[in-house]
């Protein structure tokens, strides 16, 4: 069990000692040394799905500002590619151009953003008539990935007489993300392996009826989540502190079952001791969601101490599909390293 000052205690309706002794109080017990700090950092990989898209790991030995910086960078500052410019040649569907464009922008794209550079200009200017370009630019293999969407809905001549469902009566009544075809530019055909594609093939993009069609060319660029959420590389990136459940007094019999039910599934197990009595034991505290439900039972509240370990962060990262979650964590650290390095250089140039 970690020392008392390394734990946050959870009361019935409040959480005690949430302050950060090291940075809020500037009264750390030992002198600061970055080398010692770095030596104490530990990582434990808990679980990874077979496709590598979901990852759980523990980051131990850092404080909330460091863990939070990592989380925030995963959400908003690790770059990915997303559709940014859409050159719409035809859209006679019910969904308006701008709404369709917004939908297309949000589609996750499977392409390694590390092989691309950021666009040189943040925004593309407009001319005196309010237009940013007269024709579609060819695209640059270093900056762009281009997808084409070309669908037309027709009546299905082979549909059974009694069919009523649009998907039976018409062809292409629903446009899915699988309709996109990748258009390689320059040497992308050989350079980009595996070939860029949509992460999911079954996202409904629009619905059409006979005679309606959509024809668009979508140019993707590299961007950051802090600019637009479509560039965020993760669905979620969260952390929570490791719960610690300490049973101060033996809980037996009927009370043990009530105790078990007060926690999330799998947290408390019931063992049978040598006298044949049922006794509650902590099986897996990390599965607890810290509802603190146990504290509403007065007879149990005095027998348990609920706390969380202050420097033990249980991270959960779910990639949206461009990179594996483990790669995203590494990229996030690199982003932070690069950011601090750049800032240090810039600070040196403005002060003396």
């Amino acid at each position: 069990m970690p020392p008392v000052d390394n734990r946050i205690f959870m009361d019935h309706e409040r959480v005690l000692n949430t302050h950060d002794a090291n940075s809020d109080m500037a009264s750390s017990s030992e002198p600061w040394s970055v080398e010692k700090y770095c030596e104490r950092i530990r990582v434990e990989i808990v679980n990874e799905t077979s496709d590598g898209m979901e990852l759980e790991f523990d980051l131990i030995g850092v404080e909330a500002p460091i863990a939070n910086a990592l989380r925030r960078v995963l959400l908003a500052e690790v770059p990915t590619m997303a559709i940014e410019k859409i050159y719409m040649y035809q859209n006679t569907s019910l969904i308006q151009d701008e709404v369709l464009s917004h939908r297309l922008g949000l589609l996750p794209i499977r392409v390694d953003p590390r092989k691309f550079a950021f666009p040189l200009t943040k925004t593309i200017g407009i001319n005196e008539s309010g237009v940013d370009c007269d024709s579609e630019p060819p695209g640059d293999p270093k900056y762009n990935v281009i997808f084409e969407l070309k669908v037309k809905c027709t009546k299905n001549p082979t549909a059974p007489k009694d069919a009523t469902e649009p998907k039976d009566v018409f062809i292409n009544s629903s446009v899915y993300s699988s309709e996109f075809t990748w258009c390689p530019i320059g040497d992308q055909e050989t350079e980009l392996l595996p070939h860029p594609a949509m992460v999911h093939d079954d996202i409904l993009v629009a619905k059409l009826r006979p005679g309606q069609e959509i024809e668009a060319r979508c140019h993707c660029v590299k961007g950051l989540g802090r600019d637009h959420a479509k560039f965020s590389p993760v669905c979620t990136a969260t952390y929570r502190l490791l719960p610690i459940i300490k049973i101060k007094e033996e809980i037996k019999g009927e009370a043990a079952h009530l105790f078990q039910k007060s926690f999330s599934d799998g947290v408390i197990a019931i063992n049978v001791n040598s006298n044949g009595e049922e006794v509650a034991v902590v099986q897996d505290a990390r599965r607890d969601l810290c509802s603190r439900n146990v504290l509403i039972h007065e007879e149990l509240a005095s027998k348990v101490e609920l706390s969380r370990q202050r420097d033990h962060f249980m991270f959960s990262v779910e990639s949206s599909g461009a990179l594996r979650s483990s790669d995203l964590v590494v990229e996030a650290c690199k982003v932070l390293e690069e950011k601090t390095r750049d800032l240090r250089r810039l600070v040196s140039s403005v002060i003396r």
Binding site: D20, N22, S23, A26, S28, P31, W32, V34, Y37, C38, E39, I41, R42, V43, E44, I45, E48, F57, L59, V62, E63, P65, I66, N68, A69, L70, R72, V73, A76, E77, R226, S326, V329, V330, C333, K334, L336, E337, K339, T340, R341, L343, R344, L346, V347, S348, S349, V350, I351, R352
Partner: protein, 120 residues
């Protein structure tokens, strides 16, 4: 002359991202520094504050987001007499880089071990 120009250009490029607030005061008394980081937020502000406020020579360290629609933070350091706030800031940035480097290396090592275990 030419070197002076390049220096000036570098400083100008930096001002778009980093800017010293009330530079004259800082030059007069280097123990107080307020610096503006454009296009930065709590990510770097809070983690940097956390590191710098642990230095014994630092009396105060804090940051502030002046307005949610302005993409910048103000970062302030006040040191004890005889210490330079700018040096503390540079040290803080350097150590923050070391910390995230350590997190990355530890993560990469453990991830390698984890993948090795799965293959077996």
């Amino acid at each position: 002359m030419a070197t002076g120009d390049t220096k000036k250009n570098a400083a100008e490029a930096a001002t778009s991202k980093v800017e010293v607030l009330d530079k004259a005061t800082y030059e007069d008394d280097p123990s107080c520094l307020t610096i503006v980081f454009h296009e930065e937020d709590h990510t770097i502000g809070n983690s940097l504050k956390h590191i710098i406020s642990r230095y014994p020579e630092v009396e105060f360290c804090g940051y502030n987001v002046p307005h949610p629609l302005e993409d910048k933070i103000l970062f302030r350091i006040q040191t004890k007499e005889g210490h330079n706030a700018g040096d503390c800031l540079k040290r803080g940035l350097k150590e923050l880089e070391q910390i995230f480097g350590a997190v990355r290396r530890t993560f990469e090592n453990r991830m390698g071990e984890f993948e090795g275990k799965i293959d077996v």
